[in-house]
Symmetry: C2
Subunit: 540 residues, 2 copies
Amino acid sequence: MHVDYNEALAACEANYVPLSPLSFLRRTGKVFGHRTSLIQDDRRYTWAETHERCRRFAAALQGLGIGKGDTVAALLPNIIAMYEAHFAVPMLGAVLNGINIRLDAAAIAFILDHSESRVLLVDPEFAAVAKEAVSLMKGDAPTLITVVDEAAGFTERLGELEYEAFIAAAEPLSDIPLPDNEWDAIALGYTSGTTGNPKGVVTHHRGAYLNAVSNTMAWSLPASVTYLWTLPMFHCNGWCFPWTVAALGGTNVCLRRVDAQVIADLIREHGVTHFCGAPIVHSMISELPKETFEGLGRVVKGLVAGAPPPASVFERMRALGFEVTHVYGLTEVYGPAVVCTPQQEWADKPAAEQIELAGRQGVNYPLEEDVVVMDPDTMTEVPHDGETIGEVMFRGNIVMKGYLKNPEATTEAFKDGWFHSGDLAVVYPDGYLKIRDRSKDVIISGGENIASLEVEEALQAHPEVLVSAVVAMKHEKWGEVPAAYVQLRPGSRLEAAELKEFCKAHLPGFKVPKKFVIGPIPTTSTGKIQKFKLREKVID
Amino acid sequence: MHVDYNEALAACEANYVPLSPLSFLRRTGKVFGHRTSLIQDDRRYTWAETHERCRRFAAALQGLGIGKGDTVAALLPNIIAMYEAHFAVPMLGAVLNGINIRLDAAAIAFILDHSESRVLLVDPEFAAVAKEAVSLMKGDAPTLITVVDEAAGFTERLGELEYEAFIAAAEPLSDIPLPDNEWDAIALGYTSGTTGNPKGVVTHHRGAYLNAVSNTMAWSLPASVTYLWTLPMFHCNGWCFPWTVAALGGTNVCLRRVDAQVIADLIREHGVTHFCGAPIVHSMISELPKETFEGLGRVVKGLVAGAPPPASVFERMRALGFEVTHVYGLTEVYGPAVVCTPQQEWADKPAAEQIELAGRQGVNYPLEEDVVVMDPDTMTEVPHDGETIGEVMFRGNIVMKGYLKNPEATTEAFKDGWFHSGDLAVVYPDGYLKIRDRSKDVIISGGENIASLEVEEALQAHPEVLVSAVVAMKHEKWGEVPAAYVQLRPGSRLEAAELKEFCKAHLPGFKVPKKFVIGPIPTTSTGKIQKFKLREKVID
């Protein structure tokens, strides 16, 4: 006796459109066509121009045969081409693979092979590593497109194609095509996993759309946002902010390299209102002289992720006129998925308590369905006592499709209907969570994940090393740095300095341990290394 | 040779959840549980309580056998129960049918029959018309639940069930259930069609979710929003604002009846920051003495829909400390779907031009895919010249499922892949549209089209005119000529002859009304002028 609310009420072209962040560029190109979209050194574009350039870029890629399901990789800093790639690549149904510019050639080669990237956009600053990576590949090399940056002095070309000439030669697509299905892949991002090879996180148009919008709500963003790119776009697609800024018709201020004085100058010159970054970015800004931002006449708002910076950083940032909010997330949840939303009554608390409250990771992002801290064995929620540790788990539309070509890891990650983050946390009585221990092997240094196993493997490649254990050590500048415990083979007289040199030869600089302790490593009766004991020790 | 980005990457419980505004209540009940959700006279609830009451209400309805596809009707003003119905009813997969409280018994009987409503929530203020409507029904009478309001003095009971006792007796659902499918119906709203029977507009969870979020973006809403219910919730579900306020964890201030002094008191007492309303609501507020809002210390923001109020209203509202934005929409697009987003450079224009710019309807809402003004015969866009008239058409996820049990009307409305609004507009070179008229409100005089809105704007430029309505009047020679109904400001003694002279000075001769009727103008409860009534009258 119910009413049939579906009879003759099917979806049609008029009332159903796949959710895609490409729609934001369509609308903003029309509504805010005359506003400034992008600033990089002395270059600037309007939204009408960005709309046109992205369609041109897409057409040029189409000319190379790029289409649905093709991977387009980018080894680029936060420059205009990287921003444009976030729209041009998905227009073709292709998938954007932003590669960490700090990786070494072997890691990049692995990613290019695994992702079957057909194109690699490359900045000449990374020409050497790119060339080496391509030479190390097992599969077909991608077509290289060099993004020359005259202003920054990076002009070396790899291969024949140069970005500006490449897109200039194409006739723009007449309109912005949307995906066939909102569940189609939009991007691929490799995590620096704790064990073995990195995993390729596949995200989709629906999730990117929703997290881009969720950013506007989490931060109550105004349409007039001027966003400074202190956060790498290769990192979870810049937390979806390329699409967020497009949705609002705001202005993007590009930034090749994180430098406190450059950041200060850009904030002043371009009226920057918002930025995101790792704790290190905030620390660097907080060290600037007090007069740096005098007379600015506005509060600049920042999001900081991962391990919260020390209280002193929060205090100095506030004194400089900044308002910093703490967020937490992972590549698998499109970047920020938990936010320390301030509550009105916090304003009445003592300063120290305010900083403690604001230093927690918080609650689920507005459009992330749920985050819960659970005992992974029983899948029951931990009590909200601020003490009981459980694993952070997510559920919702802002969770990845899964890991590329890795059904086992995907199944494992989605066990019991929740995404298992591998991060451990407690929950306070007000429902705010606080990370207690990043998944036990990961060290977060300057916003970058370092897998301790990778460092341990490098150490253990030394013939005189018997066993090693690498853990996080607090560091004022980088948040955390690796510290290595090394047990040598009997009779060895190897010294820390030599071990350091050995690591430098085999690891990128930021992964080289900053402290070496040589001696026996404590293990359990079954031979497992008790890292928590080492961590306690290293803090002393 | 493409990568299969779907292989072993299917949706599962962890990464797919149907979009539904019910998720907003889930999150806000948890994150902002202690904040005030609802205020009505001296009653107030927190979000934790609202979360619990809505689950209780849903359980009580379930006890009556209400489930998926059942219609629950509400003949209620903007009171707590009406707000709660927006969550409790959809929790069961049932459909909320908000009925206009100003309709007569025959119209209500038609709606109850057509919608097959199984429950009718009724406020004793409308007991008489409700009883008559039920007696006029052809089908089974719904179960009546009376919402007694002691504070307002409405205590008469219809039937056995009283709302508070009804929900108190139920054990709350343990969690908030989401729909099986985001395309499932959430609400049914009957349009006040000017001819024939009203049509039942069916909306879905996905669209309600997206428009609720779109409201936050269109208006850059802060989490601390305190929203005054000057707009009826039975009207397009209050433009989706019940769900918007829940998404933000803001505060709802209920309002049984639109009264300027009550509105002023509530704004001051509860720290109201935002409200929506028909032009008449804004006119009424604008007539309040200047000192009413002195020392308020904040700008109160309003959205006004439909025909823009005269410039004088905008000016007086600004002087009182209000910031009014113009929106436009229809029940078929979930309320507001076009917004006159202010552009930064408008601030530098002369005041008169600013008001003219802001008096247009604008551009598509942030998450509404597209709005275009087209020639309905050729389906090509009109030139952006501010002169060529076409029909406003929408496309996107915030467009209804269709009309209930009316496949012909649905097919007609979605012809050529666009929702045909029936409203006529021009588009300016900046892409902003301005409504010229409802197609049926156009007056055809001697073969010339006269937009009634243009004549009304001319009339309302007169300082003593409060509101006007211009309709077609039969004429032997010209076929039709304009006739004007004019409501003057209190105390005005303006006469028809003076008005005619005023029109002659501002309009071409054929557009000057041939008849003036001075007196109060009948409106619907949403403030819409009922032109069909005026048309009937003018024929006499």
